[in-house]
Symmetry: C3
Subunit: 339 residues, 3 copies
């Protein structure tokens, strides 16, 4: 792996911080405040890290003005040091991995009717099918499949072994991680006398700008209309987005969450991991759902929602679980006792 | 994307409906009753849509005889309009996407000992390994892997980036969506003095006719005997079917459900999303399990079953969850109060 | 499929059992005690199978000394017959499938700077990127992607369509099943005024020796430090291991379980299927977590832990679920009645 050396002045400029200290000093690693050593740059986001800040041998620290006097390190002062850290990782990553190779690899398969803009890269064993359009600097990883008529906006990264099926569209500066499948058929079947009759899924998937789709996440195409993932949405791994779901701007969803068909989720929601959300409901904007919840109804008020049986010893759980199955009866007994 | 124009008379014939109105009239889109406009064909399945039917500008409607007088649109009358809609989507899809290209792509890899019937297509970067047999009109998508000795029945579609491992068999007219893995090793290990000893999985997976396997769904091969998915079973995305599971005819399972090893599920069951089903149990025919349930025991009577903690505000949940952990004690207090 | 014929004496030697009976007798199938017939070898692990043992027509049985007199079959006597069975399946599998072909397939893509040791195989449409190192007898399946700088230890099997991203390392004698993704970016984003700012994930994934990773399981790379899977860990399918998780030696985790970021799980734990484990907690060594539990706090004592709402009829569940949402109130009523 390459190594990185960056001057504090370069970093301050790139992340939008005010430099206090020697801008020519060089850092060669990023570390959390607990593990930073000489040569590291670190960051401090709140009061609880001030003791560690005082003790730290880090060369440089991204921090808010309030803690600027708590260290003799080089300071990169900004209101939101966590955002500064995020921007720093982008700078670091670019240094570490260099500029991506562009161009279509000899072992890729690109249809003659596909339209590739400048700076596009298509890696080995990837397929870009007929009528697909890849805008500037789109990168398609090895083994990825880009179906007929798919449109991908500028700067979007498609990682190895991703599958994007026909006629789906993805905006700019988005990222789809390995193993993800966009545009597989929604789970639509009509009961027929002899089993199930498939409802062919005639909609597509429309994904906005600056969207992140995690590894092995699936977003199904719509039945008649499209499944929609709005700008700025971030989806972790192993998420199931069923057909005709709509997810609003900047909503974040953690891993292993499933969203059943035709549910609409608002903007700026934060949904924890392993949440299951039933179909045909609406969740309004600015809703927080904690991990492992079962969303069995619409949510019409912003706020924090939860469900789930907390962990116990198995012995205690067995006792409580038996009672839980009799809870209605117990409750009625309490009612009688009261009266 | 292509466009579709179909005469109402063609549609009526194809879906088995009785035509009432101008059979030469052409429709160019399918829409739900709420969004249909002139040029659309729509469908009405029940009383609650009759008001929308009356107001609709749709050119044609698939509906039961009972509502035939509620509209001036062209009527395609049949007992089960939802089934008619399903058949219509198949017709539409064929018009929209045309006939699939057949033949083995230059960039595919097909073993000389594989047997391919007429009409088979194998796309770029797909592999068909030695001894595999693909019957008439099987389609293998780009990047898919068909292992040694795999057998696939006529008309079955294997989408891009599917993996089917050695000696598994799949029936006719089935469909395996992208990212699915059929025949990976079951999770079998024996405790050994120094860790775990792998139990090599010597069975395979046997999948019937008209089966649908969703994106990123996994069906593991059996330990000694086979894992079995019967005819007509439909599995959504992200489902885990562990080794030696048996699923009966026409059972439908929604996304994110996991079924542990050696469990047998009957025919005509409907299992919701995000259900977890423990191993070594039996679920009889005609069982409905609602979403997010924990199936921790066998089910021996047809009917509807559920479990799961419904959604609350986080504040309320915290209070209730604390009590839940003391439920056995509360219940015993109630018992004492009664006596 | 090939057939297998093995002499009982060969098997006894291979699995470390004491042979009692005709070592030249040949078996041609492995079966469980309930289905074994003449020509089969089977195994008996405990008292509850002794009646079946007495009735069995199996040619040979792996069993403990205690049951050696309960059968006239050829006996392969050892303390841990289940371990013997596991070893037997390995022997059987080697006979059945023969020796793997080695070498780099013409349709593979191996960077000139990759280092491949003797006995390595790379199948069709696989990619081994620059700087990757594959030790002796590593097998890379069709369509698999091995990223830049990845290191894989001797004897490790990478199945078809696996994705291993840059700079990750995997030890010896490990196995990664199809559809798994190792080293995708962890889900790290900082809130920014206009949405989310990606935190580029600069750590990698470090996987030990004798690790098994199931189909469609994802192990994300760390933010600054690495995500770590220790020696002997076995992970089933559809598991999510988020960034900076650490899993201790020989821990076993069943399918569909999700582990959120920075959680540390000890050694020798057994975690059931569909468990959700929140982030930033610690689970000590020797913890058992039953299926479908919600691990919402650290576990600091070895033992068995559970949670989850057991299955009921839907009618009963609806009643109990309503009461559950009022449990705090019910509990307070009981408190008042007591006083």
């Amino acid at each position: 792996m390459n190594t990185v050396s960056l001057k504090c002045s370069e970093i301050a400029t790139a992340i939008g911080a005010e430099l206090r200290g020697d801008g020519d000093a060089v850092v060669t690693s990023i570390a959390s405040i607990g593990t930073a050593t000489a040569g590291s740059i670190t960051f401090v986001t709140g009061k609880k890290f001030v003791a560690a800040l005082r003790a730290s041998a880090a060369t440089a620290v991204i921090l808010p003005d309030a803690f600027s006097n708590e260290t003799s390190a080089i300071r990169l002062v900004m209101e939101n040091p966590y955002l500064g850290y995020a921007k720093l990782t982008g700078l670091w990553s670019a240094e570490l991995y260099g500029t991506a190779v562009t161009g279509v690899h000899d072992l890729a398969s690109v249809a003659s009717s596909a339209a590739l803009s400048v700076g596009v890269s298509v890696a080995q064993h990837a397929v870009v099918a007929s009528g697909a359009r890849l805008a500037e600097n789109v990168s398609v990883g090895a083994g990825a499949y880009i179906g007929e008529g798919v449109s991908i906006g500028a700067g979007t990264l498609i990682h190895p072994n991703v599958t994007i099926l026909r006629d789906c569209s993805i905006g700019c500066d988005s990222e789809i991680h390995s193993g993800a499948v966009v545009g597989a058929d929604g789970f639509g079947f009509a009961p027929a006398p002899d089993g199930w009759e498939k409802i062919h899924q005639l909609g597509a998937v429309v994904i906005g700008d600056r969207v992140s789709i995690g590894a092995c996440t699936t977003v199904d195409r719509g039945a008649l209309e499209d499944t929609v993932i709005s700008d700025g949405v971030i989806l972790d791994n192993h998420i199931q987005v069923a057909h005709n779901v709509v997810i609003g701007r900047n909503t974040a969803i953690a891993g292993c969450t499933g969203i059943a068909g035709s549910t609409a989720i608002g903007a700026n929601c934060r949904i924890g991991g392993a949440v299951s959300i039933v179909g045909h409901i609406t969740i309004c904007d600015d809703v927080l759902i904690t991990a492992n919840s079962f969303v069995n109804r619409s949510v019409v008020q912003p706020g924090s929602y939860s469900s789930g049986f907390p962990l116990e010893t198995s012995a205690q759980w067995r006792k409580n679980a038996v009672r839980l199955q009799r809870l209605d009866e117990i409750s009625r007994q309490v009612g009688k006792l009261k009266s």
